[in-house]
Assembly symmetry: C2
Homo-oligomer: 348 residues x 2
DNA sequence: CTGAAAGCGCTTACAG
DNA sequence: CTGAAAGCGCTTACAG
């Protein structure tokens, strides 16, 4: 592969001049520029980004550590992150932690070793020592979706409280009184926060949230299945289940079906995170939709601000309830484009 | 951030010795090793991968260029690729082409600039000039899923022919005679191949595949919707539609629903690529399942073989039909774990 | 406007 | 076993 030396030789100039042409440095004669460009062309020369990074101490690369790529929510997040990063001249390397702290650690380490310019992370299980250390050491970092309290790191996330209140109101209106929740890991902010919001919303209706109705999941489908089976085995099973992510909702649906029961007749179901498939499940699933694309873009902007020396900003966007048929037929809002139709707009 | 010099100074040895310790070079005294390790520990030193790559001319990184991350099939492929790569000591950088040739080109260029050790690609729209050039220039490369004929590049893919034949038999058995297909871009191998296999299978039943029953899609949901609407507008609409990927099947389902029609009563539907959600759609969708994880792993192994100087091997794995209810109720094989149950095993 | 030279952080023959 | 030195491919003050 041709190097800058080859180009210099072919153009009859020094490597310094070649570098200047390549970097649009103003003080280059037209003549030199033309000859360099011609040489670049004929040699098919492409600058070595590795060498450039070593020299300039910047990689123009962002690291994104997410907890589960197979979760459509995170897939969409990753996509919007890459899109915005590309627009700003950065590449992104994704590290998939699969909700495993050890894997998360592996990716953070690898990314740091590669000297990425900044790190976007949605911490699994309370983060890792390495991550905390990096944050304290001043590695540009931004949390998306989930975060770790007590760190001076901007957070870009959706606030689901208002939407969860809307959901509880929706369930109540449809006659459901015994409401249960499938929680995510308590060590993740989204895990604990959604349970709290749910509990508070129930309290507004004077309803308690008994421990038996709080199932401990891990944001994966299998745990949704397991927890739901537990609910069904209860002497008095809940009438409605709220899965705090889409994969656990899928597991819950599996479990309910496996017993020959039907949603919503035998049990109502709702999920946090809306995904395209929810329109087509049997029945279509009521969900709380996050502005995922906007979250990803805002997170990248915050991180790049931080990297380029501008003050980064935390951003909190509202989530909204999208009612479908999985909680009952209370209202006629399950038309074909209900995917787009918020029942109530939560502008918290 | 501490550099190798700092470690050398702290340990009272030369940087060469530090490097040897770090790389497990045998000729280092126990004493030196201990002191270096201690210094590494106290300084929290981590080798700069950028510098190492520049020096060794290897990045221990694989590039993966896929056509659409939002497609669950590719998401799963990406995940298995990363997993196997990690097991072999490599990282992977994903480039999402979104089925756009220009984006594909962007990613290939970026990846090449970063001097990845090898490239795994599922070419969109017949590939890009850059990709062809790289292949000819000897960049280690392996095609996954889709490929470009005429290049000396190993291909790791699933052969769907037998499964498509099984599908046509299944549809025929259920009484469907007018069968249509939603094709992918003709410039992709999977796009053209699936149509051909479908046509050949129909021929075995003496059935033609009229042009009106071949809809041109682009592997995205929207095109599935559009094509299906066209089918429904025909004087004699097809009785069954075979979408050649899961997103177009989703679009088809949308279109059928939007007219107030039902699957399979008004129109049968089947898809290429099986995904977890197909078990839960209304109705559950009959699909051709690829051994996605195995494809990803085999592709990585082939690429790493190539990179490390071993002869790489092309691999073709069989796909299989998973019958559910979307083509009709012909057989009682729609139990709850039908996701795992092949109707007929195709070992082509 | 241009080039010689230093240096980014490593690895690795080479000499001892 | 160890260190001095060269060199990977760039960029960028510095001097002219």
């Amino acid at each position: 592969m041709a190097s800058i030396k080859d180009v210099a030789a072919a153009a009859g100039v020094s490597v310094a001049t070649v570098s200047r042409v390549l970097n649009d440095h103003p003080s280059v004669s037209d003549d030199a520029r033309t000859r360099v460009l011609a040489a670049v062309e004929t040699l098919g020369y492409r600058p070595n980004a590795v060498a450039r990074s070593l020299r300039t101490d910047q990689t123009r690369t962002l690291g994104l550590v997410i907890s589960d790529v197979l979760n459509p929510y995170f897939t969409e997040l990753a996509r919007s992150v890459e899109e915005e990063a590309r627009a700003l001249g950065y590449s992104v390397i994704i590290g998939n932690a699969d909700e495993r702290p050890d894997l998360q650690d592996h990716h953070v380490r690898t990314l740091l070793d590669r000297r990425i310019d900044g790190l976007l992370v949605s911490p699994a299980e309370g983060g890792s020592p390495l991550m905390l250390e990096a944050a304290r050491a001043g590695t540009p970092m931004v949390f998306v979706d989930r975060w770790i309290p007590g760190l001076d790191v901007p957070v870009v996330r959706a606030d689901g409280r208002a939407a969860i209140r809307d959901l509880v109101a929706h369930l109540h209106r449809l006659g459901h009184r015994r409401l249960a929740i499938i929680a995510g890991p308590a060590a993740t902010t989204t895990g604990s926060e959604r349970v709290e919001a749910f509990r508070e919303a129930l309290a507004e209706y004077g309803a308690p949230l008994p421990d038996a109705y709080i199932g401990q999941g891990d944001f994966q489908a299998e745990s949704g299945r397991r927890v739901t089976e537990g609910f069904l085995d209860l002497p008095e099973p809940p009438e409605a289940v709220f899965a705090t992510d889409n994969l656990m909702a899928l597991g819950a649906l599996d479990a309910i079906r496996a017993r020959g029961l039907q949603v919503p007749r035998d049990m109502a179901l709702a999920a946090f995170d809306d995904i395209p498939w929810f329109v087509h499940t049997d029945p279509p699933i009521t969900a709380i939709a996050q502005p995922t694309g906007e979250l990803g873009r805002a997170a990248v902007r915050a991180l790049v601000d931080r990297i380029e020396g501008r003050p980064p900003q935390s951003v909190t966007l509202p989530a909204r309830l999208v009612a479908r048929r999985s909680c009952g037929e209370g209202r006629a809002n399950d038309n074909r484009d209900d995917n787009q139709t918020p029942v109530q707009r939560s502008t918290s």
